[in-house]
Symmetry: C2
Subunit: 93 residues, 2 copies
């Protein structure tokens, strides 16, 4: 296989990643709605910690555990950000 073939494979994976990241975000928004209704905080450090630990435990590489953690930190950061944006919109509505 040549460079272009591997890049095509990456493009296919990236599209799946994009869809899953958006799917995850839809679920985060549902969680955000429930938290809002119940006046629960958006940031739940124990839950985030649990996600990191689970991902490191299930990681089979080649990504290092540290890389997996950095990636999920970004993913969770974006979830938190969009939950906050939704909460602010609802407050101002």
């Amino acid at each position: 296989m040549d460079l272009e073939d591997w890049r095509e494979r990456i493009d296919t994976v990236d599209l799946k990643l994009l869809e899953l990241l958006n799917e995850r975000t839809r679920y985060s928004l549902e969680i955000g709605k429930i938290k809002e209704r119940r006046h629960l905080p958006i940031y739940v450090p124990e839950r985030e910690q649990q996600i990191y630990e689970r991902m490191e435990r299930l990681n089979q590489g080649p990504l290092s555990d540290k890389a997996v953690r950095r990636l999920f930190e970004r993913i969770i950061d974006e979830s938190r950000r969009i939950e906050k944006e939704m909460a602010e919109k609802n407050r101002n509505a």
Copy 2:
């Protein structure tokens, strides 16, 4: 559905994300090997730009295009990092 049900769905998505991120990394490492053999640079800004633009074009939300870009910046940063680590290991071997 309650909080815990949505969290279970997120856990399922996260496992798929983890597997895809590792799959993507395996392809990046194959690309790294080809680049090394041909003395090509690891950092190819046009290719990275092409990925960002494609992801923004294909993004259907709820993630914003900016969020998608930040997420793929992290993903690509980890690819570049592991390609570099591999290249250094081979130089020292």
